[in-house]
């Protein structure tokens, strides 16, 4: 870490997170991945060091930070080699920002604070079986009935969907299109809410669920912001979420590179270390090249965000650059590791299975391109 963008507090944050990940996460990753879960106690521990509160207002129990702190957090969390643990542990970073920005004081007190204390788990539910990219056309309905909304429909691919205590759910309260979308906080124990787990290619340690809402009665006080204005609230989130995805993708690419480099220096074939074969060291240079350019782009966008700009087109392009960098580095790392790269226990094997989720979630690659094009006025 160097340069004017990172100060002493970033360095201390890195040190704390590195120690935390080494002590509380990395030794257990294999077991948690196989068990397809990690202990709830980890949320509490992450709250104690301030990780869950990173970037949230102090009044709610958080610590304000800047985009460079986000990058540091992404890098350090990735060192465990499990995207699933990071995704599960940090789902609140997509679930609670709309409440922080637009929610009532009562919701902040009852939902945000316990989540940042690590006592409760929050998840965000936007995607539906009928589609995730086209958010404006979501079909889950919330019909007002006195002091309640009656919610019907379903959501799918929801991270922490199985065990979340609170769900930030995008619903249709009005007419078609983005103008009819609202955000509701739905308690995990609401009658009529059913959840089923999903098995996935990667991210095993995080649970992913389909949710069914069958006449769920949700108090109107659980509405986040104004009725029919929810689409705007959901969009608020995306800059930060996509910066985090880009930071995470970059960080996992780096983990693959580090593993491949160490392997290439150690492993002997034809009487010399792998790295002494030109083909292999050129692969490593290609990986390092992509890493360097991705990092430069990442920090450029972080600088724009820090200056208060809303560089939407750049963020879309950054997300695609970073996820491609990760796909490339994971693919090449597995190749350099050879058969060992295909066997469980190597970080690159797991990360290889975790590439697609970052290229699809939080706005798929194709959607990012279209959004960038629109922003550029094409």
């Amino acid at each position: 870490m160097s340069g004017p963008d990172y100060g002493e507090e970033h360095e201390q944050l890195r040190r704390t997170l590195r120690g935390f990940v080494e002590k509380e996460i990395t030794p257990f990753v294999e077991a948690w991945e196989e068990a397809e879960s990690f202990p709830r106690a980890l949320y509490q521990k992450a709250a104690d060091i301030g990780l869950l509160g990173l970037g949230f207002p102090e009044a709610l129990g958080g610590t304000m930070s800047d985009p460079f702190a986000t990058i540091v957090a992404c890098e350090e969390l990735a060192r465990s080699g499990s995207g699933g643990v990071a995704a599960g542990l940090m789902t609140h970073t997509i679930a609670i920002p709309p409440i922080v920005a637009l929610g009532s004081d009562e919701l902040k007190e009852r939902v945000v604070k316990p989540v940042l204390r690590g006592e409760k788990i929050a998840a965000l539910a936007i995607t539906e079986p009928s589609g995730g990219s086209d958010v404006a056309n979501l079909r889950t309905t919330a019909r007002k009935d006195g002091e309640h909304y009656v919610v019907n429909g379903s959501k799918t691919f929801i991270t922490s969907g199985m065990r979340s205590d609170f769900l930030t759910v995008a619903v249709r309260t009005g007419g078609p299109g983005m103008g009819g979308v609202s955000i509701l906080v739905i308690d995990g124990d609401t009658p009529g809410l059913d959840r089923t787990p999903l098995k996935k290619m990667g991210w095993w340690a995080s649970d992913t669920a389909t949710l069914y809402f069958d006449d769920c009665r949700v108090p109107v006080t659980n509405l986040v912001g104004d009725e029919d204005q929810g689409f705007f609230g959901l969009m608020l989130n995306f800059n930060h979420e996509r910066l985090s995805i880009a930071g995470t993708a970059y960080a996992f690419a780096k983990v693959c590179f580090d593993e491949a480099l160490a392997w290439a220096q150690e492993r002997q074939t034809f009487n010399k270390p792998l790295i002494k074969h030109q083909v292999i060291r050129h692969k490593l240079v290609d990986m390092a090249t992509q890493l360097a350019s991705t990092k430069a782009f990442l920090e450029h966008v972080a600088r724009l965000l820090k200056a208060g700009e809303q560089p939407v087109a750049e963020i879309c392009m950054l997300k695609n650059t970073a996820t491609r960098c990760m796909e490339y580095c994971a693919k090449e790392a597995v190749q350099i590791l050879g058969g060992a790269g295909y066997i469980r226990g190597q970080k690159s094997e797991r990360i290889y299975r975790e590439t697609k989720v970052l290229a699809i979630g939080g706005g798929a690659e194709e959607i990012m391109k279209e959004l960038a094009a629109k922003q550029l006025g094409w």
């Binding site: 002493e8 507090e9 360095e11 201390q12 944050l13 040190r15 060091i49 301030g50 509160g53 930070s65």
Partner: protein, 262 residues
């Protein structure tokens, strides 16, 4: 209770240290520095005692101007304020005599120090300070219940303070020894005293506003001319590659004839 804790800036134990070509010093260029791990244990112990007994925790570092970072780290863990004596690399005797001046001014009831620093492993400053002050000392403080114990999970201090006395369990060759010291006293920490906490993010932000008093070394009027001179640094001899043995008999034979250990 006022507790003074010392924190030394040392080379990162996870990085390989390089020796300068003339063998007279270590290469600091590009080196990463961290707080001495034993000192982090000292800070942790001080914070636990403060939680139990109230008072103030003051962190002192004597060294390079960048050692303010190591002080800041201790403040981020929860200590209240810092004193930074800016100086070049000193020997343990000079450090002890400077600390004596600070102790005389601050008048703490307890000074907690690491048993040694992981860079030069001298293991002297605490003992020398106790000697100069004429205070009782307990070195190598440890936790009787161990680091996997419920007591450690509950973040109980290993050093027990009661009735103007400190009870310290210390590691000795044959096992554990219990010492009772009249306060004020010096305690130095061993590895098995506690698990130091991580500096939390809110702690890191709060530490930015906590005061660190900078004092030039010259202002103490202490003669810091080194009594110890470093003659030469050398790397330990490189380890030879291992050999594979076919069976136990060959192993025993090699241990007898080549390694000559049995």
């Amino acid at each position: 209770m006022k507790i003074l804790v010392t924190v030394k800036r040392v080379t990162d134990y996870e990085r390989k240290v390089k020796i300068s070509p003339d063998g007279l010093s270590l290469v600091t260029e590009g080196m990463n520095f961290v707080p001495n791990p034993f000192d982090e244990i000292a800070v942790e112990e001080a914070l636990r005692l403060q939680k139990a007994h109230g008072g103030e925790v003051v962190v002192i570092s004597i060294g390079h101007k960048d050692a303010s970072k190591e002080i800041r780290q201790a403040l981020a863990m929860g200590a209240d304020r810092g004193i930074h004596v800016i100086a070049e690399e000193l020997d343990p005797d000079a450090v002890a005599r400077l600390l004596m001046k600070i102790v005389e001014e601050e008048k703490p009831e307890l000074v907690i120090m690491g048993k040694q620093a992981t860079d030069d492993d001298a293991n002297q400053a605490g003992q020398l300070l106790a000697g100069y002050l004429g205070w009782p000392q307990a070195t190598f403080a440890s936790k009787v219940e161990g680091l996997d114990s419920e007591a450690e999970k509950a973040q109980t201090p290993g050093v027990v303070i009661a009735g103007g006395e400190a009870t310290v369990i210390r590691e000795i060759d044959g096992g554990l020894e219990t010492l009772k010291l009249k306060l004020p006293a010096i305690v130095t920490t061993d590895l098995r005293l506690n698990h130091p906490r991580f500096a939390s993010l809110p702690g890191i932000m709060k530490a930015k506003k906590k005061p660190i008093k900078e004092v030039p070394v010259a202002s103490f009027g202490v003669d810091i001319t080194p009594k110890v001179r470093n003659v030469k640094y050398a790397e330990p001899p490189a380890r030879k590659a291992g050999v594979k043995v076919a069976d136990v008999a060959e192993l025993v034979n090699k241990l007898k004839t080549e390694a000559k250990v049995i």
